[in-house]
């Protein structure tokens, strides 16, 4: 497997005897430094005080740290706007609009997760700062992936992100599922990292560099005649990325891990791991591999179609809210891949917008699931959501809004996100892919709505003033008369759809009525911790406000461009 080159590579790395230390621009790497440094300080404080650190103290620490990183990111943004994007530290990291947006996203996700975890940790009686420390470290890994300009840095970020996440997944040590999920995640994640790093090695072999811009430079200056090595490297790297973003067929771990992990961790994982992996994927494909986009576009196309379909169809059959949201996240990954597939600058900003919108929707949703999971974090069956609107109208309304946004309801960030990625796809000429995506959005809407129906379902008949009871003969007459046009005329009614709707609904409603009849008490009201409700409020407000006034966020994502866009 030897790559034949027409022209000699320009990449012979200057092998000097002395190691020269490159100048370091600290602003560029300050956010991850703050996150890791803060985590270390938090850990030190926690081990120095005599009693276990109170949950509230570590939450405040975590909020300050991630808020600080967010503030630095704003400073970076101003710097990029004023002086333009540059690479720093021997071109290993880059500070451009893209990296700053990912940093902000990750810092924001960390902040929200800290707020949600506060209530969770108190409820479960977990003291100490470990949860926050691990989450901060993991988030710093995602930030590194966003700013990496070198395959090695990407790998570094990936490992920092993943290893902390493995531990976080196992955090609920009282639950066997948590440990099982962590082991599964660890084993598969370890494999995918190994495959990824092998891909880096092959790419280095083919191009002579691990620096993204140098790879692009090499590929644009040289015609690679036998590019087996390069393609193999690219393919292996894609496997690694697809694993992290949970794209089909590399999604096997997702439902189990999402279900088994403590719910705040699930939300964090869905938002941050996806953001980091997508950031790196976008940068590698668009900056380095832009020249050979005809080689990777079909792969992304296939991944997108499979993720879109499998995510939406399998979610239909889920009875567990966390599993349902896991499959929905696979569907969302398919949507974000649409932006990647377009291989256009528009696709970058569309994907970024989708990641931002998705972060708020998913963390908000999982925050609500955390609250409703009750003590033990195990109460996630769909039937438990029945009648939630009567017991807890605020929670039900928030969840309804977040789910509708995920389904793509208008005037939420959810539809702007879908609109943008589909727009990118159509402008790249892949109209069939756009149609497929929208059809899966319809399928997905069904399971989001089912939760909505359950939450707003009431047991008493809704209409019929003055206490009138609907006579049962009424419904019989309709059936006996046999004039119901729907089922009678097979060609006029897609019976499959109707039948599916009926069975899915009936299943849920029946399954729910059974325990109620056998005398089990109806679920009582769950207390909502103050900080969690703040987090939910932020997520809902963000989703709705930027849905109604879309211009600021759209502009922001449009300005968050990559430093170099290879063609």
């Amino acid at each position: 497997m030897i790559t034949t080159l027409l022209a000699a590579g320009t990449t012979a790395a200057g092998a000097s005897d002395k190691i020269t230390i490159p100048p370091i621009r600290y602003l560029a790497i300050l956010p991850p430094i703050i996150m890791i440094g803060g985590a270390v300080i938090l850990l030190a404080v926690a081990s120095l005080v005599s009693r276990p650190l109170r949950v509230r103290v570590s939450t405040i620490g975590s909020v300050i740290i991630s808020g600080g990183a967010f503030g630095i990111a704003i400073w970076q943004w101003c710097d990029v706007r004023a002086h333009g994007a540059h690479t720093y530290i021997a071109h290993a990291v880059v500070m451009d609009g893209f990296s700053v947006l990912i940093t902000m996203l990750v810092a924001g996700a960390m902040l929200l997760t800290a707020l949600v975890a506060d209530g969770y940790l108190k409820r479960e009686g977990i003291t100490g700062a470990e949860f926050h420390v691990l989450a901060l470290v993991s988030a710093s890994g995602a930030m590194l992936m966003g700013m990496a300009n070198d395959l090695i840095i990407i790998f570094l970020g990936l490992e920092i992100l993943s290893i902390a996440l493995y531990v976080l997944t196992a955090f609920n040590h009282r639950q066997a599922a948590s440990g099982e999920a962590a082991l599964k995640y660890f084993l598969l994640g370890g494999f995918s990292s190994a495959i990824f790093v092998y891909g880096i090695a092959l790419t280095y072999g083919a191009t002579g560099s691990t620096n993204l811009i140098q790879i692009a430079d090499f590929l644009s200056k040289n015609v690679v005649l036998t590019n087996g090595l390069l393609l193999a490297g690219l393919a292996l790297m894609l496997v690694g990325f697809a694993f992290k973003i949970a794209a089909v067929p590399f999604h096997m771990w997702t439902p189990d891990v999402y279900e088994g992990a403590p719910t705040p961790v699930t939300g964090f994982m869905a938002a941050v791991a996806k953001a980091g992996a997508f950031a790196a994927l976008l940068r590698v494909l668009f900056t380095s591999m832009g020249v050979i986009s005809s080689d990777w576009k079909p792969i992304i196309y296939a991944l997108a179609v499979l993720s879109l379909f499998l995510g939406s169809v399998v979610a239909l059959r889920q009875r567990d809210v966390k599993r349902m949201l896991a499959y929905s996240s696979i569907n969302h990954a398919g949507f974000i891949l649409l932006g990647v597939e377009s291989a256009l600058p528009r696709g970058v900003s569309a994907s970024l917008y989708y990641l931002v919108a998705y972060m708020f929707m998913t963390i908000g949703s999982f925050a609500i699931v955390t609250v409703l999971g009750r003590q033990g974090d195990a109460d996630h069956d769909l039937t438990r959501y029945r009648g939630l609107a009567r017991r807890q109208p605020f929670l039900a309304l928030s969840f309804a809004i977040l789910l509708l946004a995920q389904a793509g309801a208008p005037f939420t960030t959810g539809l702007w996100a879908k609109l943008q990625v589909v727009l990118a796809t159509v402008s790249a000429g892949a109209v069939p892919l756009a149609v497929i995506a929208m059809v899966t959005a319809v399928i997905a809407a069904f399971f989001y709505l089912r939760v909505g129906v359950l939450m707003y379902a009431s047991k008493e008949p809704a209409e019929g003033g003055e206490g009138l009871v609907v006579p049962p003969t009424g419904t019989d007459a309709t059936t006996v008369a046999g004039t119901d046009a729907g089922p009678q005329i097979p060609w006029a009614s897609p019976d499959g759809v109707s039948a599916t709707i009926t069975t899915l609904n009936a299943e849920l409603l029946l399954a729910d009525d059974a325990p109620a009849a056998s005398g089990e008490e109806t679920p009582s009201t769950v207390p909502v911790p103050a900080l969690t409700s703040v987090a939910i409020g932020i997520c809902v407000a963000f989703t709705v406000i930027f849905g109604i006034v879309p211009a600021p966020l759209l502009d922001f994502c449009n300005h968050a461009t990559l430093i170099f866009f290879g063609r």
Binding site: S349, P393, F394, L397, L404, A409, P410, F411, L415, L419, V422, L423, V426, S427, V431, A434, V435, M438, V439, A441, V442, A445, F446, L449, G452, V453, Y456, A457, S458, E460, P461, A462, E463, G464, G465, E466, L468, V469, V470, P471, T473, G474, A477, T478, A481, T483, A485, G486, A492, S493, P494, V497, S498, I501, N505, L509, P550, A551, L554, D555
Partner: protein, 517 residues
């Protein structure tokens, strides 16, 4: 053309803000119920006032868009603009919606959770207004989609026994149609961008896109799939009997008289304007579907024992007439279709309201369960008769004028379709009169004898509908005067784009009668 008062934006903002405020108030149970009830009604009445003022402000004998407001909405990169305008085709649909929402709110006050119900209705009103007024395709799409959410919750939350099934079916069917619409809009915009270099979604700009005939047909089908489901046109109607039946009375009114018009309006506004050639090519297909819908709807309505299903199927037939007039593609047919949208809205709202009143008293709407209501509730019987006769198309009431125009227009361009469609008119007389006989004639059963007649508030709610039905039947000129210029402009646009003059009464009608097959 800028105005000091942004009437159209106000039409959307008023109910939207009102709905939002009510939704927040609904979370606090301590507030007095009456306050919220009247707040909702007041907001919808204020919207009606704005709509009427907009009508009065509009210039007559002008076919273009008026009261336009056009602002940047998403910044430059996406090119989506807050572009609203009204013309003779949309103004009456706006008025119809503005009139019906207060009536529905007034009848819905004794429901459980009345504030949430009112909040959803106001949100729906905002969405409907937005859809009728938007001239930017994406903004239109957003409002078009937004109608689904409140409609879904109204059916699912306040409907009858099979509401969950009906609500989900309704949502999925219409959402699937819209999926194609979105892709169609984006594809059209990109074709336009590749020709002009400007990414825009504004209707007047996209009108000038050059499309190859196969592309145009594909885009036409993508757009029409959404509108045909929403209307609903045969064979995309299977959701509608379920949704109309399972929805609460107010929900049925809004679904059938306002939301259904979104589909037919969409066809007239977008299909005819953007794809005139494809419209002409595919007109026979749609006309055939429309005629099948007319006959099929009428026949199925004949065998219904369930009054709501009956009205649902008769609605299918009426929507068929609207499509018939639209695809006749001449002034008479199109004016008739636009007027029929208004008239059908008024009539079907009246029918569903009266059926709702019967249900509140008797707990059923099965014709087999009811007998002799005329004896105990003469006013109700009288009002029902009026709505029924208007629906049949008796001269002197509004249904006749529009149906006549549609049939004349269609007869000139597509004669045999009109001939078959007339059958539907006859059958509609049969099923409505049968129903009337069964429910209102005869000796009342013991349980029917206690049925109260219409109360004064209920009569008050029905009065505006009755006045308009009679007025538009006797003197349709004021409405037609405003509809005609816009319709003429649209027909001219289609004729210019297709290079084919459609025969009509004023131009070559007689020639066409003599010469065309």
């Amino acid at each position: 053309m800028s105005h000091s008062v942004p009437f159209l934006t106000l039409l959307i903002i008023l109910p939207a803000v009102g709905g939002g405020v009510l939704a927040l108030l609904a979370l606090d149970k301590r507030l007095p119920k009456e306050l919220c009830d009247w707040l909702a009604v007041l907001v919808s009445l204020a919207t009606l006032v704005v709509a009427v003022v907009a009508l009065v402000t509009m210039r007559e004998h002008f076919g273009g868009f008026q009261l336009v407001s056009n602002h940047s909405y998403t910044g430059d990169t996406l090119g989506i603009r807050w572009y609203l305008g009204v013309d003779g085709i949309s103004i009456f649909l706006v008025l119809l919606s503005a009139l019906l929402f207060p009536l529905v709110l007034l009848t819905g006050q004794n429901k459980p959770k009345p504030r949430a119900y009112a909040a959803w209705l106001l949100l729906l009103e905002a969405a409907v207004m937005g859809s009728f007024l938007s001239l930017d395709l994406i903004v239109f799409f957003f409002f078009f989609e937004l109608t689904l959410v409140p409609a879904y919750f109204i059916i699912a939350g306040w409907g009858h026994d099979r509401r969950a099934y009906a609500a989900v079916k309704f949502f999925l069917y219409t959402f699937l149609g819209s999926a194609f619409l979105l892709v169609g809009i984006l594809a059209l915009a990109f074709i336009h961008q590749s020709q002009t270099g400007v990414l825009t979604f504004s209707l007047p700009a996209l009108e000038h896109t050059h499309l190859s005939s196969s592309t145009e047909i594909l885009l036409f089908l993508a757009f029409t799939s959404a509108f045909a489901v929403k209307a609903p046109l045969f064979p995309f109607h299977t959701w509608s009997p379920d949704a109309y039946t399972e929805a609460p009375a107010g929900g049925s009114v809004i679904l059938s008289s306002v939301l259904a018009k979104l589909g037919t309006y969409g066809i007239i506004r977008f299909d005819l304007t953007l794809f005139p050639q494809a419209t002409r090519t595919l007109a026979p297909l749609i006309l055939t579907l429309a005629v099948i819908g007319i006959v099929y709807g009428a026949i199925v309505a004949c065998v219904q024992r369930d009054m709501k299903r009956l009205v649902a199927y008769s609605s299918l037939a009426q929507i068929g007439f609207i499509a018939l007039g639209t695809f006749a593609l001449n002034e008479q047919g199109l004016s008739g279709a636009v007027l029929l949208m208004l008239n059908h809205g008024l009539i079907v709202a009246g029918l569903f309201l009266v059926i709702g009143f019967i249900y509140e008293r008797r707990g059923t709407w099965q014709t087999t369960e009811l007998r002799g209501l005329q004896k105990v509730a003469p006013v109700m019987a009288g009002v029902f008769t009026l709505f029924m006769l208007a629906s049949i198309g008796v001269p002197g009431l509004n249904g006749f004028v529009s149906e006549f125009l549609v049939l004349v227009g269609t007869f000139l361009t597509h004669r045999w379709w009109a001939v078959v469609a007339v059958l539907g008119v006859i059958v509609s007389a049969i099923y409505l009169l049968w129903t009337y006989q069964q429910v209102f004639h005869g000796v009342p059963k013991p349980e029917d004898e206690k049925t109260r007649d219409l109360s004064w508030p209920e009569r008050l709610v029905l009065t505006p509908l009755i006045i308009l039905i009679v007025f538009l039947g006797v003197f349709p000129k004021p409405a037609l005067d405003r509809i005609d210029p816009s319709v003429t402009q649209l027909v001219t646009h289609v004729e210019k784009a297709t290079g084919h003059d459609q025969p009509s009464v004023t131009t070559k009608g007689t020639a066409a009668l003599g010469g065309q097959p």
